[in-house]
């Protein structure tokens, strides 16, 4: 059966066919669809874990317990999960365990573009890299087999372009039924990493690597495609596809297993070709491995080390390196200067009102073009976090001063306080991010007697990655109702005395409570609650601008709503975008009360 699947769907399909039984993940672009696809299979246990560390631990426990397990995360998620990941390498597994790291070259939706191939090497575990969906489906089965044969977790590393591209998958294999291996067998020297046992395990890990190196030589998805012998290309993952387009006649060594590399196969390939090059995205991972063998090779001398590759980039780099003749006379079209279309908060977003208040309290934005306040001294320092609300850093709010990684804002805010800065400090964090790694920061703030204000933007979902559940939503990965962790009780339970739950769409109340929290000499937490606009079930009639009252002062633009527009010196609200009464933020802040519900005006009024 032929089907078009994304790389992520294919990884899920391949894992299903390989007898996967337990799958865990924390959502993160570009990895989220792996677990989402797995929820469609009834006999696979799936969960959104609180964060990647927990996800890794659950997958590890499942593998110990005899079930083939998979844990999926984005590249920076593996930083969070690094501790149990290293431990899993040391102890090994029982049933197969696959760790999917979905990297994001080009940072389509990430704060960095770290190359996680180094983390597989660092943890001394084997790594496979698919180049398209068929490859992903086939290769993940090998990953489970390798895991069990060599008693190790196996990393499957994808990138955004592989995870999110769709290509044809021919599903012709039978499913291996998930009967499982023997359940957990108590084995203290293997599973109890006291120093005395860990020392022995370290030697076992080194011995395992030697065996894996030998296996890599025979791995069926390390393939040579012979062409002309003047150029030999070593490549893997999506870079293989670009290289194929750019060098249609060259010879290729395509590595499906990129750690450990098959040294003899590489030597054999290198000995047959006149010039050996590596085409790989991001770091010179394969190039360094080949160079360390004493083999002459080039790659990062002409292939960029930053950003995502594509066919154009590989081609132009190959021209500049003299590997291909540049066509003469073909001129690149000059880029046009056209209005940008930056990412925005959606119309009806519950974050907009909170950012409007922060922006005005912090003197960040102004309606007057001549009065640019972005350089002005603000009374506030606002530390940010990862999610849709990262967009609060942009126009028109300018209301975030830091964004680092999941959960960092609360710790950063405390650090600023302890550094003795005189301004009020606010940390802004989403509900899912708070569950992920804000809780420990808040516990730390309580214990260390902080005076900061933490605003939890509670939209009841993990919005940015596509509305996955989290412990605060009470909805499981399969969309079923489950035990809910109540945010306000959690925060109170931690020991925060000043906890305020406010309606995120009520601008006056939001302002009063932020002011109140800033005035409070102790630690304050504001939970600003408002449903994500994308999850809004019903919309009421759109708001409209009463042209008789509107003097085009532009205050409404400060809520950053894309439904509010200006055309021919008239302000109006796009009726197809406005969510109506559920939001009403613009209506509340208009100084001339010129924004109203449609039903409040009769056609005669407008004449």
């Amino acid at each position: 059966m032929k089907q078009l699947l994304s790389g992520n769907e294919a990884l899920a399909m391949g894992s299903y066919l390989a007898g996967l039984r337990v799958a865990t993940a924390y959502p993160g672009t570009p990895s989220s669809e792996i677990l989402e696809s797995l929820t469609k299979f009834d006999d696979i246990y799936t969960e959104w874990s609180t964060n990647e560390k927990v996800a890794m631990e659950v997958a590890m426990g499942a593998a110990y317990g005899g079930a083939r397990s998979l844990v999926a995360m984005k590249h920076v998620g593996l930083n969070v999960a690094m501790d149990p990941f290293m431990a899993a390498s040391m102890t090994g597994i029982n049933a197969g365990m696959v760790v999917v790291s979905a990297d994001d070259p080009g940072m389509h939706s990430s704060q960095n573009e770290q190359d996680n191939r180094y983390l597989a090497k660092f943890a001394k575990v084997p790594m496979l890299e698919p180049c398209d969906s068929q490859d992903a489906c086939d290769l993940v089965k090998y990953a489970f087999d390798i895991s069990e044969e060599f008693d190790t977790p196996v990393v499957v590393r994808t990138t955004t372009r592989v995870s999110h591209s769709k290509s044809v998958v021919n599903i012709n294999q039978e499913r291996i039924m998930p009967t499982g291996r023997r359940g957990f067998q108590r084995n203290v020297p293997k599973y109890v990493m006291l120093p005395v046992h860990a020392r022995a395990r370290h030697s076992a890990v080194e011995a395992r690597l030697v065996k894996l190196e030998a296996y890599s030589e025979t791995f069926p998805l390390n393939q040579i495609f012979w062409g002309k012998l003047d150029i030999g290309v070593v490549t893997s993952g999506i870079a293989y596809q670009y290289a194929r387009d750019v060098f249609p006649e060259a010879s290729f060594l395509k590595l499906g297993m990129t750690y450990p590399v098959p040294r003899n196969l590489i030597r054999h390939f290198a000995s047959k070709v006149k010039k050996l090059i590596v085409i790989e995205e991001l770091e010179p991972f394969l190039q360094e491995a080949i160079q360390s063998m004493g083999v002459q090779v080039s790659g990062k001398e002409f292939i960029p080390r930053t950003g995502e590759l594509n066919t154009n980039i590989v081609e132009e780099a190959s021209w500049s390196a003299g590997l291909l003749d540049a066509p003469s006379g073909k001129q690149k079209q000059k880029p046009q200067t056209l209005p940008e279309r930056p990412p925005l908060l959606c119309p009806g977003c519950p974050h907009a009102g909170v950012f409007f208040v922060l922006s005005s309290l912090g003197k960040r934005s102004s309606v007057s073009k001549s009065k640019d306040r972005t350089g002005e001294e603000s009374d506030l320092v606002i530390t940010g976090d990862i999610g849709c609300y990262s967009l609060g850093a942009n126009s028109p709010f300018y209301a975030l001063d830091t964004i680092a990684c999941m959960g960092a804002g609360i710790g950063q805010a405390l650090g600023m306080e302890k550094a003795g800065i005189s301004k009020s400090i606010v940390a802004v964090i989403g509900d899912s991010t708070f569950m992920h790694s804000g809780i420990t920061g808040l516990v730390n703030a309580v214990y260390n007697e902080s005076r900061i204000t933490v605003i939890i933007l509670d939209n009841g979902t993990t919005a940015m990655t596509g509305h996955q559940g989290h412990p605060g939503t009470g909805i499981s990965a399969r969309g079923k109702e489950t035990q809910k962790v109540e945010l306000s009780s959690l925060v109170k339970g931690i020991g925060v005395k000043d906890v305020r739950v406010v309606n995120a769409f009520d601008v006056r109340t939001v302002r009063q409570n932020i002011r109140g929290a800033l005035d409070n000499p102790g630690l304050s937490v504001i939970i600003a609650r408002g449903v994500c606009a994308m999850l809004l079930r019903t919309r009421s009639e759109p708001r409209i601008v009463d042209a008789r009252k509107c003097d085009q002062c532009g205050v409404c633009f400060l809520v950053g709503c894309s439904a509010i527009r200006q055309e021919n010196d008239q302000f109006f609200i796009d009726a197809t975008l406005c969510v109506g009464e559920a939001c009403n933020v613009c209506l509340q802040i208009c100084p001339h009360k010129a924004i109203v519900a449609q039903s409040d005006i009769t056609p005669e009024d407008l004449k």
Binding site: S167, N310, L344, S390
Partner: protein, 201 residues
């Protein structure tokens, strides 16, 4: 057909991804190798969305090279101008006559490019530019949201895939209640294109 490379451009929420999924499934059902990839960015709504589709007997990269797209299907005019350089020389631009101004234009800090300027930009690549009143026609048909299916109807006139395969795949991707109106929009698109092509040549 040796190869067909289609770039679909638009704004988040317009249905670019669904349209591209339908094209790909139609090509697959017609016996071709297909790859597609979307660039979405981090916005849920309102950002620039581009979908690359490559169809041939064997495809390597899912991304279309600049200057290699045979057809650009533009759901929105500004985005069509922005991505016009992906068209090959003499390629075909099918553009929905709709403007969705970005925030800088909404706030009066920027100007939305005129139709003349958009055409001039595209003419760097091709003179074969069809403007379709897709949104308007869809509204007349009774569901303004069906303009993306209508545009697929326009595109279908330039592909070798059979009409019934197109229709099967459109139906498969839509909820039962939306099938009839979308198939009507598809037919309307084919009609619009037929009129345009005959008046053009």
């Amino acid at each position: 057909m040796k190869k067909l490379e289609v770039l679909i451009v638009g704004v988040g929420g317009q249905g670019v991804i669904l349209a591209s999924d339908i094209i790909c499934d139609t090509a697959l059902a017609s016996g071709y190798d297909v790859k597609k990839t979307d660039t979405i960015g981090m916005a849920q709504r309102g950002g620039s969305v581009v979908s690359h589709i490559r169809i041939a007997s064997q495809i390597w990269s899912p991304l279309i090279k600049e200057g290699e797209a045979d057809i650009m299907l533009g759901f929105e005019k500004l985005e069509s101008a922005r991505w016009g350089h992906y068209l090959r020389s003499g390629g075909v631009a099918i553009i929905n006559n709709q403007a969705l101004p970005p925030p800088s234009v909404n706030t009066g800090n920027d100007e939305y490019p005129s139709d003349e300027r958009i055409t001039a930009i595209l003419k760097h690549r091709t003179n074969v530019i069809y403007y379709i009143d897709g949104t308007q026609r869809a509204k007349e048909l009774g569901n303004i949201r069906t303009y993306n299916t209508l545009l697929l109807g326009c595109l279908s006139k330039l592909t070798p895939f059979k009409v019934n395969i197109w229709k099967e795949n459109i139906a498969q991707h839509l909820a039962a209640g939306l099938r009839e109106i979308n198939l009507a929009a598809f037919d309307q698109g084919r009609k619009e294109m037929r009129n345009l092509v005959s008046s053009f040549s």
